[in-house]
Every structure is written in C-alpha cells, then in structure tokens.
C-alpha cells in the first residue's frame, strides 16, 4: 500500500505541476514555507500534526507551526489577532460553517486548480465539500473525519444483560438499557457531561429518529421542522439517556467513566470515534468493548459528520504561496490522510482509501463503512455539537437549551422543543 499511494501522490503532484505553471515556478524558485495555526498541541492530535509537519519538511519545505493550546476559542483569538494585524498565517485550522464566516473577513486562496489536479472533489462527501467551498471555490481542505454518534458497548455489561446483539434502533437501545439495568448494571449509559457531550446526545437522538428532520431543523433551521414531532421525540429520548447516566458525572469529561464502563458498571456510550483512541491510550483492551454506528430507527446507519480542516489565507510571499500549494497537495494525499487518521483514530476524508490493511482498527473500518452507507442513503449529516451544522453563535444558543434540558429534569420535552425554536429565533 505505501508504494502505490506514494506513486499516486507523485502522479498527483506532477499533475498539479503541469496544470499550474505559476505555482510550479514559484515552487521551483523558492523553498516552500508554511506558517500554520492550530489548537492541536497534545496527545494524538499533537502527534499527528507533528507527523504532517515532518512530511512537509521531507518535501523540502520549512514548517512553522504555532500551536495555541486550549479550546478552539483561544485558537480563534490568535487567528483574529493575526488577521487584524494584517499578518494571517498561510493556513490555519478551521471547520464547518466558520470557514464561510471567516472567509468574509480576510482574503483566502482559491484552491480550485490544485483540487482539480488531485481529483479530490470526486472522493469527498458532497455535504462536506460544500462547507469548504462557500463561494463556489475551494478555500479550505478537510483533513480527517469523525462520526460523533458511534455506539460503544461494554462487553461485561452486555454479559450482565445476557445480550449479544448490538442495538440498531432506539427502541432496541432502550430495551438493552433496561435489560442492563435489570441485570445489575447500575448505569446503562456512560457518557460525560460537557457541553458538546450533551449536544451529542441530542443530535444522535434526533438524527437517529429521522435524518430528514435533523437536516431540516438543525442544518437548515426550518421553522416548521423545528416545531415538528421529531424534535419532541428526540428530547424524550435524551431524557431517557440522561436518566440512565450516573448523576454524579456533572460536567466531567467522558474519559472519567472509562474504567467503570470497561468494568461493566456502565453499559453504553454514544461518543465520537476518538473515544477509541482514548480507550487505547488509557491502557484498555479492544476485546473489552464493541463499536457500532449509533442507533437509527430506519436501520440504515446515520453518520453525524465532524471533519477537521485547514483554511488557506492569501499571502503575497512566493515562499508562502509555494508552501500553500505543497500543503494542499499533502492534505489531499491518501498516504498522508492514512498516516494522519492512523495516529488520531479518525477516518480519512477520501472515500477511496482502503482500510482493510494493517494499522486500521475494526472501529475505524466500521466507521468508514457506515460513512459509505450513510452517504448512499443520504443519511450523512453535519454534527451540531461539534460546530459543523451551524456557525458558533447559533450552535452555542442551541446547546444552551440542550445542556440545560439534560441537567434539569423538571424541563418537559415540549418545553425544551419550544425553547429550541425560540433560541434559533433569538440567535438569527
């Protein structure tokens, strides 16, 4: 595999060079250099971006990455400061609708030619592609994909419930949770309680009940869909999930519960694919848990897309321009995406990468298969909780309602649905 992909990359690279004499000349004349800002500093995120930087240097480039540790907000503060100072980085991490929003405040690079040369558009999920070409032109490139609604099942909890069938629909999920409870699993759900975690519970519920309703209400903010019965049904399901959780988890990270999850004191977890890497890094074994796509009432997998990406900012310096071309080629390269995803536990953006080889886990293969099926049945939707469906302002307004509902059991599902619709109006 490495040989073929390398050759393919070389082909892609030379095709780009042929198609883009200007870029090629720039690249030949100067040493490509890239200034980049991201929040990826620690753990596998930090390791992956470091490996990407190494590849960039191997290609003769100068890699100048400035990690901004902390939350996305701090990274954005840094980016904003650089843009206001007239000195944007050549490329920076940004995702979802924020790409469109930020592209309005500073000029971005038109990547259409490089993307066309690499034939990238054919192998990217259409909903995802749209996010990265807000004005019809590619200005940003997705790098890796996670699903936010993977279902993790504890083997020991399954044993306690005397169950071996992975639940496919929400009814089956609820049934299994009850059986776990009856079988002596004190808390059938093992999620954490951070804001995104609460958001994930809701989006998994709604998209699992009806991907069409999710698309209309959450992605398109359709006023009628927001008042539809599916929203209320989703809140009912979220309440069930919340009631099966340990109330003591508070706002802790989901990883706090991993030990109890593996031990079978907690049964199921609806979490992004990254939880797999966390479990592995915490020293747990793959035999102790199972991974499957999250519940979907029509039995076809629903995929809540979360994709990290780089946006490219316009620079006049020839070395930075050459660096941007090189970076764009690297990010689209199947070998690089393979390397990156194998470090972080995500799956490649390219749908044509073969995950059967060594270095991929079952969870990743299942995620990739789910993505393919979901795209085929038009059930790949954009995650709200991870800022893919709406701009940050709207997202935060919606999550406010959801997290309050999860934490406050006196709020009725109808009330929550009304508040959600009001929050959309308030944030518009």
């Amino acid at each position: 595999m490495p040989i073929t992909t390398t050759r393919r990359r070389l082909l892609a690279g030379s095709a780009a060079a042929l198609a883009l004499p200007a870029f090629a000349r720039a690249q030949g004349a100067v040493k490509p250099r890239l200034t980049a800002i991201s929040q990826w500093s620690a753990g596998s995120d930090g390791a992956a971006i470091t490996a990407l930087g190494k590849k960039f240097e191997e290609k003769g480039g100068i890699w100048q990455h400035s990690p901004v540790p902390g939350f996305t907000t701090e990274m954005m503060n840094k980016l904003r400061a650089q843009i206001m100072a007239g000195d944007p980085p050549a490329c920076s991490q940004l995702k979802g609708p924020e790409i469109a929003a930020w592209s309005k405040i500073a000029p971005t690079v038109d990547l259409d030619a490089v993307v066309a040369a690499a034939g990238y558009e054919k192998v990217v999920a259409p909903d995802l592609a749209k996010l990265h070409k807000p004005g019809g032109k590619w200005i940003a490139l997705p790098l890796q994909i996670y699903s936010t609604n993977m279902l993790f099942l504890s083997k020991r909890a399954m044993d306690k419930a005397k169950a071996d069938k992975i639940p496919v629909t929400w009814a089956e999920f609820n049934d299994l949770a009850e059986r776990m409870k009856a079988g002596g699993v004190p808390y059938p759900v093992a999620n954490g309680g951070t804001r995104p975690d609460d958001g994930q519970k809701f989006e998994a519920a709604l998209a699992g009940i009806s991907p069409a309703a999710y698309r209309a209400a959450i992605m398109n903010l359709d006023a009628k869909a927001l008042k539809g019965p599916e929203i209320k049904a989703a809140f009912v399901q979220v309440r069930k999930i919340a009631d099966w959780m340990d109330p003591n988890v508070g706002a802790q990270h989901f990883s706090t519960n991993l030990k109890r999850f593996i031990d079978g004191d907690m049964g199921m977890m609806i979490m992004g694919g990254w939880a797999q890497g966390v479990l592995r890094n915490a020293g747990f074994k793959f035999e102790d848990f199972m991974i499957a796509p999250g519940p979907s009432d029509n039995s076809k997998p629903v995929f809540l897309l979360n994709a990290d990406a780089f946006i490219f900012w316009q620079r006049k310096e020839p070395d930075l321009q050459a660096g941007q071309t090189l970076m764009a080629q690297l990010v689209m390269d199947p070998a690089i995406q393979t390397m990156y995803s194998q470090i972080t536990g995500s799956i490649p953006v390219r749908t044509d990468v073969d995950l059967s080889g060594e270095g991929w886990s079952d969870g990743q293969r299942r995620t990739a298969a789910a993505l393919k099926d979901a795209i085929a049945s038009n059930q790949a939707v954009l995650s709200l909780a991870h800022n893919m469906a709406q701009e940050n302002g709207m997202t935060a307004a919606l999550i406010d309602v959801i997290t309050e509902y999860v934490k406050d059991k006196t709020i009725k599902p109808e009330q929550a649905a009304t508040r959600l619709a009001e929050a959309v109006e308030g944030a518009r």
């Binding site: 701009e391 302002g393 309050e404 934490k407 308030g426």
Partner: protein, 307 residues
Amino acid sequence: MTNAVSTKPGRPAASDLVRRLPEYLMIWVPLLLCAVHLVSFSLWTIWISFTPSTLVPVSGWVGLRNYTAVLASRNWQIAFDNLLLFGSAFVLLSAVTGLVLAILLDQRIRGENALRSIFLYPLAVSFVVTGTVWSWLLNPGIGIQKLVHDLGWTSFKFDWLIDRDMAIWTIVIAAIWQSSGFAMALFLAGLRSVDADIIKAAQIDGAGPIRTYWRIILPTLWPITITVVVVQLQFAISAFDLVRALTNGGPGIATQLPALVVYDLMFQRSLLGRGAAAAVLMLLILLAVLLPYAAWRYVQKRRATHA
C-alpha cells in the same frame, strides 16, 4: 493629602520647566498611558456595543439592539442574578473567613509563620489550576463524596457541583479558599497596628478577650474592611478563569456570570457587538457599586477637612 507639599502655584518659568522635565515625564507618562488606555478602551467598547460587529470590529450603527438582545437572553438574566448572589456571598464570607483567620493567628500561637504561609499560598496559584483542582474535589463521582463513600459512610452527600441551585456555592468555596488569605493578611496587619495601650487599658477595666475584640479592636478595622471589600470585589469580577475551569457555567447554564457571558459572546459566539454590550452593562453594575463608595469617601474627606 491635605497637608501635602504643593508644587509651586501658578505658571512655572520656561527654564524651570526644562529643568524639571525629567520629573514631569516620570510622573505623567506612565500615569497618562495607564489612564488613557483605560478611558480609550472603555470608550472603544462602548462604541463597539452600538455596532453590528461579529467576528471583527466593524463600523455601523444598530442602536440599542445589542443591549436588548443581551438583556433578553436567559444567559444574561441568570448571570446577573448569580453575580448578585456570588458577589455578595463571596465578599462577605471571604471577609469573615479572613477576619477569623487573622484573629486566630493574632493569638500569639506557635507556628504562626507556617500557618500564615498555608493561608496565603493559594494566592500564588493560578485561577485555572484552582478551578481544575476544585472541580476534581467537588465532583461527587470522583472527589470528596466518593472518598467518604469508599471509607464506608455511604449515605454522605456533597453534590453541590451538580445541583443547579447549589453549584454557585462551589464557586464561592473555591474563591474563598483562594483569596481569603489576602483578607487575612490585611486584617492581621490591622490587628497588629492597634495601639497596645488601648488594649491594655481595656483589660485593666476588666474586659474579657471577646469583649475586648468586639468593643475595642474590631471597630478600628473599619477602614481595612473597606479595602478588603474593594479588593475582593475586584476578585469577584475577574473570577472568570476560575469559573471557567470549575463549572464552565454549568450544570446547564446555572452558574453563568457576566464575565463569562462577555467572553462567550465576544469570542465563542463571535458576536462582538453583543459581547461589548454585555461588557458595558457589567461596567455599569460596577459603577453602581463603586460610585456610592466614592461618594462616601468624599464626604469623609470633607468632614475630616472641616474638623
């Protein structure tokens, strides 16, 4: 200040001015820089609060729209109530804690140096660290409650962190832990500067220790109490990092505070105009507290001059 040495009244001669230029520079440049940055930053924020700015500052005029949006939001309403509760509870309790600690340390006890260091060391720790560590301790699933359960007392309950009504008190606890050492230091300073003769006289009159404190010593601490309140108030307003690390506004949005809302609107939600409006509202709250204090000081001073 009334008997301070006055510089020469009237217009100084040109040669005098040149000779004294260095001192004017040393006095005025830093003070002016500081004052100008405060005034201009405040004015800038006020201006932004009337613009439709989102990701970056832009010009334009939207009237009071940002203000009405902020005031109508649940986040702000909750934050405002919390500030009143947190502000008053924290300032009061940390002052009381500081006073109690100071009185205890003032009993000529052994190991005073060590104890003083113990009560002061939280001041050296960053808010983020304090918030993180207390979020471990106060979380019922992994902290104190779990520890007590593991020790055998399984009916023990201490779950304020996940209780919407009580969560704000966990912030009060962490903030008191971090900052009452400062109040203690100030009060201890005050206790140590009370005239020993007065205390002796009271004791000769047969006053017990409690009576001596209550009647003689504590009344002399009023001016310090004001300083303590001002410093703690400043702490309460800037307790942003602490809250972010401890509850991040949760459970749900039950522990929102104005500083959190300002940061959230400005940088998380990319609504600069609204965030600026929230910041201006926060400054107005502050002025509502500080102006009466300034007026009180003014009256006091006037009285002192007339006396």
